[in-house]
C-alpha cells in the first residue's frame, strides 16, 4: 500500500515538473510548483509510515494500546511529520510570494505568457 504512495508521489512530482517546463502561463507554472510541493509532502508522510502504527500524538495511548507499545515504536515517525509541517509552512509563504510576483508581472508586462516576460536574456 505504501509503495502506491511512493509511485503516486513520483507521478505527482513529474507531473508538476512537466507543467513547469512546458506551460508558459505563469499562474499554471505556480500551480505546477504547488503540485511538486504536495508530492514531497506525500513522500515524506509515507516515509514516516510504519506497519500497524498509529499517529504520533502522545498525550495518552489510544484505546487498546499501552504506553509501552508506543515507546517501542508503534507510532509513525514524528520527525518526518514535523518535516512535512515545516515544509507546508514554507510552502504557504512561498505561494504568497509567487502570486504577488505574478500580479506585479501582469501589471508591468500586461501578459502572463513567460515568453513575453523576457526583458533580460543572453
Amino acid at each position: 500500500m505504501i509503495v502506491a504512495n511512493y509511485v503516486a508521489a513520483a507521478l505527482l512530482f513529474v507531473l508538476g515538473l512537466y507543467t513547469v517546463l512546458t506551460r508558459r502561463n505563469l499562474v499554471k507554472m505556480v500551480m505546477g510548483l504547488s503540485l511538486m510541493e504536495s508530492s514531497t509532502y506525500l513522500l515524506i508522510v509515507s516515509l514516516a509510515h510504519r506497519p500497524h502504527s498509529t499517529a504520533p500524538v502522545l498525550v495518552e495511548p489510544p484505546p487498546g494500546r499501552t504506553a509501552q507499545q508506543l515507546v517501542t515504536g508503534d507510532v509513525a515517525d514524528p520527525v518526518l511529520q514535523n518535516f512535512c509541517l515545516t515544509a507546508i509552512v514554507i510552502g504557504v509563504a512561498l505561494t504568497a510570494v509567487f502570486l504577488s510576483a505574478v500580479v506585479r508581472i501582469a501589471q508591468h508586462y500586461r501578459t502572463l505568457d513567460a515568453d513575453d516576460v523576457r526583458g533580460m536574456r543572453g
Partner: protein, 584 residues
C-alpha cells in the same frame, strides 16, 4: 572564557541580526535612517561575537552547542546543534563583516528612499545575513534547509526591491521558480537520508554513513548537491543568477554575488567532506566537472555581455566554478586555496558590484557600449574597479594571487592536466572580460558628458576603500592568512573526525592539523600570472574588432530569458548529477 560559556554563545551571531530584521521595518517610521544604522550595528555585533570564537577555533578546535540542551544521549541525537569549526567560522565572519560594509554603503547610496522601502530593505538584508551566518554554523541538515529557505525568501524580496522596474519583478520570478525547485530537491534528499539513517545531525549522519553508503544515500546526495548547486549558481543551474544581479540595487548584487551564492558551496562542501566519507562517492569528480564547465562557460559569457552588471554576474558563475574545482581536488592546497578564494571573492566581487551599482545608479547608463570616460569624471570609482579587476586577475600583491596560486597547485597535485589547462583558459577569459569592461566603461574616451554625473559620496568611498584595503591586505599577508585561517579550515574538512566528535561528545573537540606549503614568490605561479594577464589583455582588442564568435552566439541563444528553459536546464543538470552519483 571557558569552553561551555563559549559554546552557549553560538546562537547569538544569528539571533542579533534576526532581532534587527524584525525591528528595522518598525524603526523606519520613527526615523528614516535608523533601520540602516541599526542593521550596520547588528551585523557588526554579529561579527564581533564571532570574533570571540577565533582564538579557540583557529587553534584547531570545534565548539558545539545543542539548542535547549537536547544533546546526544545513549548514542542517539534528537536536538539541533550549532557547531563552529574553522570552515564555518571563516564563512560566517566573511558574511557578517562584508555585510556590515555593504550596509554602510547602502546608507549613503539609498538613503533618499522612503520609510517603507528603507525599513523593508534593512529587514530583508539582515534576514539574509542571519540566514547565511546560521547556515555556516548549523550542524543539522534540516536546519540547513530551513536557513536555505530563509535566505531564499529574503533574496526574493531583495531581487524585486525596485518593484517599479519590470525587469526586477521578472528576475524575482525566475529566482523564485529555480530556488523553489532546488528546495524540493533538497527536501526530498533530506527525507531519503533520514529514512535510511534516522538521523539529521551531521555528526550522527557521518557516524552512520561511515559504516555503509547505500545507493539510496547516493541518490539523496545527488539531489542535495543539485539543489545546493542551484544556490551556488553553478552551471547548468545558474539561470537565475545573471538576471537577479542585473535587476537588484548595487549593494544587493554585491550581497548575492559575494555572500549568498557561497551558501550553496558551503553546503556541498560540508556534505561531501564532513557528512559523507570522502571516497565513498564520486562527489569530488562531479564537483570538478561542474566547476570546470562553470568556470569556462561563465567566463566566455562574461566576455560577451554588454551590461556592466551582467559581466560581473557571469563572472560570479565562473568564479564559483573555480571554487568548485578547488574543493574538487580534495588536496590540502586545493581546499585551503578554495577557502581563501571564497573569502577573496566575497571581497573583490562586492567591491566591483558596488562600483557598478554606483555608476548605474548615478548615470542611469547600464550598457558598456554607452558608458566610457568614467576615468575623468570619477577617478575614485575607476581605481576601485581596477583594484577589483587586478584581484580577480590574480596579480600580486592583491589577494587573488595567493588563492588562485593555491588552487592551481592543488589541481597540479591531482595530475588532471585537462582541468589545469581549462582553468588557465578560464583565467585568461576572465581577465579579458574584466579588462574589456575597464576599457569600455572607464578608460575609453567619451565625447559627450553624462546627463547625471557619477559623483561618489563619503560613505560610499569609505566602504569602497575598506573593501579595497582588505583586498590588498589579504594579498600582502597571504602566508600568514594561509597558515592561521585557511590551513585550519582545510584541516577541518580533510579530517572531519574532530567535527563529528564535537557533535557526538559536546562541547569541544580537537581537529588534527594540516600543513599547507606555499611560497609567495614561486617562479611558476608568477609566470602563469604574467602570461595569463598579457594574453587576457591582448584578447580584448581582438575580441572588440571581430564579430562575435559562433560558439558564443550559440551559448547566448541558449540563455533565452525564458523561465521554462532555465527550469529545464536545472532539471537536466539534476538528472545528470543524480545519475553521476547513483552509477558506480
Amino acid at each position: 572564557m571557558t569552553p561551555t560559556t563559549l559554546a552557549s554563545l553560538t546562537p547569538l551571531p544569528v539571533v542579533v541580526p534576526l532581532a534587527g530584521a524584525v525591528l528595522s521595518p518598525l524603526l523606519a517610521w520613527w526615523s528614516l535612517r535608523l533601520p540602516v544604522i541599526v542593521s550596520v550595528a547588528t551585523t557588526a555585533a554579529s561579527a564581533a561575537i564571532l570574533c570571540l570564537f577565533v582564538p579557540t577555533v583557529l587553534h584547531g578546535k570545534v565548539v558545539s552547542h545543542y539548542f535547549g540542551h537536547w544533546g546526544p544521549s545513549h548514542g542517539s541525537v534528537l536536538g539541533i546543534a550549532f557547531a563552529v569549526d574553522a570552515w564555518g567560522l571563516i564563512f560566517a565572519l566573511t558574511t557578517s563583516v562584508v555585510g556590515a560594509v555593504l550596509l554602510l554603503y547602502t546608507l549613503s547610496e539609498l538613503g533618499h528612499l522612503g520609510p517603507r522601502e528603507l525599513g523593508g530593505y534593512a529587514g530583508l538584508f539582515q534576514l539574509l545575513i542571519a540566514a547565511l551566518v546560521a547556515a555556516g554554523l548549523t550542524a543539522d541538515i534540516f536546519n540547513l534547509f530551513v536557513w536555505f529557505e530563509v535566505a531564499g525568501l529574503a533574496s526574493y524580496g531583495l531581487t524585486g526591491f525596485f518593484l517599479e522596474r519590470p525587469i526586477a519583478v521578472e528576475a524575482a520570478f525566475k529566482i523564485l521558480v529555480l530556488t523553489t525547485i532546488a528546495g524540493f530537491l533538497i527536501l526530498v534528499g533530506i527525507a531519503l537520508l533520514y529514512a535510511e539513517h534516522g538521523a539529521l545531525g551531521f555528526g550522527a549522519l557521518r557516524h552512520s554513513l561511515a559504516v555503509q553508503v547505500s545507493s539510496s544515500d547516493r541518490i539523496a546526495l545527488g539531489l542535495l548537491v543539485a539543489g545546493f548547486a542551484t544556490k551556488a549558481g553553478l552551471m547548468p543551474f545558474h539561470g537565475w543568477l545573471p538576471d537577479a544581479h542585473t535587476a537588484a540595487p548595487g549593494p544587493v548584487s554585491a550581497l548575492f554575488s559575494g555572500l549568498m551564492v557561497n551558501l550553496g558551496l558551503l553546503a556541498i562542501v560540508r556534505l561531501l567532506y564532513q557528512v559523507f566519507p570522502l571516497h565513498a562517492t564520486h562527489g569530488l569528480g562531479l564537483l570538478t566537472c561542474l566547476g570546470v564547465v562553470s568556470a569556462l562557460l561563465g567566463a566566455l559569457l562574461a566576455l560577451a555581455q554588454d551590461d556592466l552588471k551582467r559581466v560581473l554576474a557571469y563572472d560570479t558563475v565562473s568564479q564559483m566554478g573555480v571554487l568548485a574545482v578547488g574543493f574538487g581536488t580534495g588536496s590540502p592546497a586545493g581546499t585551503a586555496g578554495a577557502t581563501y578564494h571564497l573569502l577573496n571573492h566575497a571581497l573583490f566581487k562586492s567591491l566591483l558590484f558596488l562600483v557598478a551599482g554606483a555608476i548605474v545608479h548615478r548615470t542611469g547608463v547600464t550598457k558598456l557600449s554607452q558608458l566610457g570616460g568614467l576615468w575623468r569624471s570619477t577617478p575614485s570609482l575607476t581605481i576601485a574597479f581596477i583594484v577589483g579587476t587586478l584581484s580577480i586577475a590574480g596579480a600580486p600583491p592583491f589577494n587573488g594571487y595567493v588563492s588562485l596560486g593555491l588552487i592551481h597547485e592543488g589541481v597540479a597535485t591531482t595530475g588532471e592536466h585537462v582541468v589545469y589547462g581549462v582553468m588557465l583558459l578560464a583565467q585568461v577569459l576572465t581577465i579579458a572580460a574584466l579588462a574589456r569592461a575597464v576599457w569600455l566603461g572607464f578608460l575609453r574616451p567619451r565625447q559627450s558628458a553624462y546627463e547625471n554625473e557619477a559623483k561618489a559620496r563619503p560613505g560610499m568611498l569609505t566602504a569602497l576603500a575598506a573593501l579595497a584595503a582588505l583586498c590588498l591586505a589579504f594579498g600582502v599577508l597571504g602566508e600568514a592568512a594561509l597558515s592561521r585561517l585557511m590551513a585550519p579550515a582545510a584541516a577541518g574538512l580533510l579530517h572531519p573526525h574532530g567535527y563529528v566528535k564535537s557533535l557526538l561528545a559536546p562541547p569541544v573537540a580537537r581537529v588534527s592539523p594540516v600543513v599547507v606549503h606555499w611560497s609567495y614568490w614561486e617562479r611558476k605561479e608568477l609566470a602563469i600570472v604574467v602570461v595569463t594577464v598579457l594574453l587576457g589583455i591582448c584578447l580584448v582588442p581582438l575580441y572588440l574588432r571581430r564579430d562575435e564568435p559562433h560558439a558564443v552566439t550559440a551559448l547566448r541563444r541558449l540563455h533565452s530569458g525564458s523561465v521554462n528553459d532555465y527550469a529545464a536546464y536545472l532539471s537536466l543538470g539534476a538528472i545528470l548529477v543524480v545519475a553521476g552519483f547513483a552509477l558506480r
